[in-house]
């Protein structure tokens, strides 16, 4: 997994540089490993939306969009857009929204927190306090700081951890299937 490796070696700047590098590689059509990781993660985000229940108050109305936000640098390219194109969650059409600041993300139901935000996690979660937002991240400390789901790499495969405590705080309900497949994060754990 290139991203995880680069992050460890190069520190928090890697995300941004990697984004640029990735873009240039993609243009050259040459980064299958990298692109595959985020294609899979995009599909996971789409799946999470189906295995979690939001309180009705989380939506502006019955036909209001279901928003998947990306906070910070976008590692998905157009994968996430392609994944949700034409899809609905119940009566809510799925849309993707890219945000630079957490304030722009409060209308989202799912928020993917990019590696570029690794230093600002506390701010991010403070900004989402009491909001019914499913936060998904991929950096160490994500669940410890209050995130709901964190992607982890295990033997080159993408698994995820889920914090029941954070699920509850965000007024969400996770399906038993999701909980069964996830690693459960104990209170205070990561």
């Amino acid at each position: 997994m290139v991203t995880g490796w680069a992050h460890k070696v190069a520190g928090p700047f890697a995300g941004r540089w990697l984004g640029i590098l990735l873009l240039s590689l993609l243009v050259a059509g040459n980064a299958p490993g990298q692109s595959k990781e985020y294609q899979i993660k995009a599909t996971f985000l789409f799946n999470f939306a189906q295995f979690i229940d939001w309180p009705p108050a989380a939506f502006g109305g019955a036909d209001a969009p279901f928003c998947i936000g990306i906070l910070g640098d976008d590692p998905f390219g157009n994968y996430l857009d392609e994944t949700v194109r034409g899809e609905k969650i119940g009566s809510h059409p799925l849309v993707v929204q890219r945000c630079r600041h957490v304030e722009e993300a409060t209308n989202c139901q799912v928020l993917f927190v990019s590696r570029s935000e690794a230093k600002k996690l506390k701010e991010v979660f403070a900004g989402l306090k009491n909001q019914a937002v499913l936060t998904v991240g991929e950096v160490d400390g994500f669940c410890k700081d209050g995130g709901v789901i964190r992607f982890v790499a295990e033997q080159n495969k993408i698994h995820f951890r889920i914090s029941p405590e954070a699920v509850k705080k965000a007024s969400l309900t996770a399906s038993s299937k999701l909980l069964r497949l996830a690693e459960i994060v104990p209170p205070g754990g990561d």
Partner: protein, 665 residues
């Protein structure tokens, strides 16, 4: 005639290596570099159809192995995943093959099966090519498979791909009615400790252990061992048939994925098996194999692979004589096989695959007085070459043309060309059509069968026995009809010539000898559907229709009146349900119905009555590492026959219940 064992054999094809794990699957639709965007959206579509479990099982690092949408393969392909095998409760490879609806699987006794696709499921079924990790397991003795020595730790099987219809262009002779590819997981994906054990009424006890670790960064290994003891089946009267079966197998696999461009695999297995036979004697088999494979990535569009294996089988089979006592037939087969393949893009519209192969077999046979194969030692050379080009005619239409050319020592040159047309009508629907030629080359049974000690032998091989040939016409359709409903349909018309018959010797009548006096047509339909009713509940249904018109050629004769090759059901269907229940419980059931079989004894026909059978599995995962399961097989009858002419020695298959404990760490 009953053999009871293994052998490797023939045609190997390891497209698996560089077409992803998906064999044929990668042949089709895909533009050149120009179609990056559509490739992405195809990938997105494939991922979206996967369950969370399947997503969690995807490898993010496998370069140039983008998941190939198997819905895109222009062939009648069905894939059985390792998870489906686990959930079915299958305890052997033949049982797992019941999950492929395009196969006929009939159990003869505790340790023998007749397995075929699109008909011709005779006692010595010979029109299917079967490979385990690129190693052919089909014996040149009778061109069929000794199913009772094809085993593996089922937990470590990644997938079984079953293609019904000819695959001669890629796989060569004997891929006539179908191809089965059994692929084990990479050692990287089987890290840690796995222990299973259990027992029950017929599957009396079994145990299996595997450990996987790392030898160096990116160099992974696993070692495994397993053993089982299966009890007796019964005769129609309910009397014990004394045919119990025990087998042990051990093996290893090492995968070196350290290089970006070069991957190496080294794997091997060793087994020992013994069966009781009704004469009171014991049949034994042992064997082993070792296989090395190098795959080299030249670029995203181009790669090559080289595979070498050695396989040895040793078979001791008691053959009963006219006095009811057994004489011993032994057979030792050594196979050396070398296989090379190269794939590349030619311009923007052509995807080319070509390859070369060589196989050497030495078969040493010590015949029983009433059955032998002469000469006792036979060396065989098989040379092959193939090339195939997939041409993008326009954005969604692909034409694939190719042929295999082989040279064997019996019939010399054989050609197996095919043409396939594929139309991706919409992102969710694909139509395909194909015309192919395939051949079943002679086996030792066809040519070399003798009764050395008999003054008046009854049966002998036919010195002039030629290849059986097939021209197959196929049409197929595959679609994701709705988000949770997918289906596939294939229709075929097969035209056979020179099919095996049994002739009188003019004047003396005996010995009877094998000839090629049959011809005829078969046609049929294969239909499957998958429906995810709810997040936690999945249905699968399959239906096959088959009509066979095999007859004696005008002016020629067959003592069996054309009836010996086709003991097949006209209809069969299956229905499976798979539930994830609260409390970490899985409940799976599989119902199957098989139409009446007409087995012959000479020109007389007898039947195996049509039957329903039911398998069920209930499993509980009290913790992540532990799985407790109870499995019932053939639950609807105390015992029922699945194959064979109704006589005193035909065996019935008994109801079986077993418990299993699995621990993964």
């Amino acid at each position: 005639m009953t053999f009871s064992r293994p052998n490797p054999g023939w045609r190997t094809k390891v497209l698996i290596l560089w077409l992803g794990t998906e064999v044929l699957v990668a042949m089709p639709g895909r533009g050149g570099p120009a179609s990056d965007v559509s490739t992405n959206s195809e990938t997105v579509a494939v991922y979206k159809k996967m369950s969370l479990e399947q997503l969690m099982d995807l490898d993010v690092t496998s370069v140039a192995k983008q998941p190939e949408p198997f819905g895109r393969a222009p062939a009648a392909i069905q894939v059985v995943t390792g998870d489906e095998i686990r959930r079915s409760g299958a305890s052997s490879i033949p049982e797992a093959l019941r999950l492929a609806d395009n196969l006929e699987v009939a159990q003869q006794n505790s340790h023998d099966w007749s397995i075929s696709a699109r008909g011709f499921n005779s006692g010595l079924a010979n029109k299917l090519l079967v490979m385990i990790d690129g190693r052919s397991v089909y014996t040149p003795l009778f061109s069929g498979v000794f199913w009772n020595v094809q085993d593996y730790l089922l937990e470590d099987i990644d997938r079984i791909e079953v293609i019904s219809g000819p695959g001669g262009t890629l796989w060569g002779a004997n891929a006539v009615n179908g191809v089965i590819n059994i692929t084990s997981k990479s050692a990287r994906d089987t890290q840690g400790l796995y222990v299973e054990g259990g027992g029950g009424s017929w599957l009396q006890d079994f145990t299996g252990v595997r450990y996987g670790g790392m030898l160096a960064t990116n160099v992974s290994y696993r070692v495994y061992g397993k053993y089982f003891n299966r009890g007796d089946e019964v005769y129609a009267s309910g009397k014990d048939a004394s045919d119990s079966w025990r087998m042990g197998q051990t093996g290893f696999r090492i995968d070196d994925e350290a290089g970006q461009q070069n991957n190496f695999t080294l794997q091997g297995d060793f087994y020992y098996s013994d069966v009781e036979v009704s004469t009171g004697d014991e049949g034994r088999a042992s064997g082993g194999n070792i296989l090395g494979r190098w795959s080299h990535t030249i670029s995203d569009d181009s790669d090559l692979s080289l595979q070498l294996y050695y396989d040895r089988t040793h078979l001791v089979d008691p053959i009963s004589n006219q006095f009811g006592t057994a004489e011993i037939l032994t057979d030792d087969l050594d196979t050396y096989d070398l296989d090379f393949q190269h794939r590349f893009h030619l311009g923007e519209r052509n995807r080319v695959v070509w390859g070369l192969g060589y196989r050497f077999t030495r078969d040493v046979d010590q015949g029983a007085p009433n059955l032998a194969f002469l000469p006792p030692m036979l060396d065989r050379n098989l040379f092959s070459a193939f090339a195939q080009d997939e041409i993008m005619l326009c954005k969604d239409v692909f034409l694939t043309l190719g042929t295999k050319v082989e040279h064997n020592d019996y019939t010399h040159f054989e050609f197996e060309p095919s043409g396939r047309l594929q139309w991706n009508a919409t992102p969710d629907q694909m139509l395909w059509a194909a015309v192919s030629r395939a051949v079943r080359t002679p086996s030792r049974v066809d040519r070399d069968t003798r009764e050395p000690d008999s003054a008046a032998p009854i049966l002998t091989g036919g010195p002039g026995f030629e290849s059986e040939t097939l021209i197959a016409y196929e049409l197929g359709y595959r679609a994701q009809l709705a988000k949770k409903l997918s289906t596939s349909l294939s229709v075929f018309y097969n035209d056979y010539d020179n099919v095996r018959s049994l002739s009188f010797t003019p004047g003396t009548i005996i010995p009877l000898f094998f000839a090629n006096n049959l011809e005829g047509q078969t046609y049929g339909i294969e239909l499957t559907a998958d429906y995810q009713v709810l997040d936690w509940w999945r249905w699968h249904a399959g239906y096959d229709f088959l009509d066979e018109h095999i007859h004696v050629k005008p002016g020629q004769m067959d003592i069996n009146n054309g009836r010996n090759e086709t003991a097949d059901p006209e209809h069969q269907f299956s229905l499976r349900s798979s539930m994830d229940l609260p409390g970490n419980i899985e409940f799976d059931t599989g119902l199957r119905w098989v139409d009446t079989l007409h087995n012959n004894d000479g020109a007389n026909l007898g039947t195996v009555p049509s039957y329903f059978e039911l398998d069920a599995r209930l499993a509980w995962h009290p913790t992540k590492n532990l799985e407790l399961a109870v499995v019932g097989q053939n639950l609807l009858h105390n015992h029922h026959p699945e194959y064979g002419f109704p006589n005193a020695t035909r065996e019935d298959i008994v109801r079986s219940v077993y418990g299993k404990v699995t621990f993964r760490w």
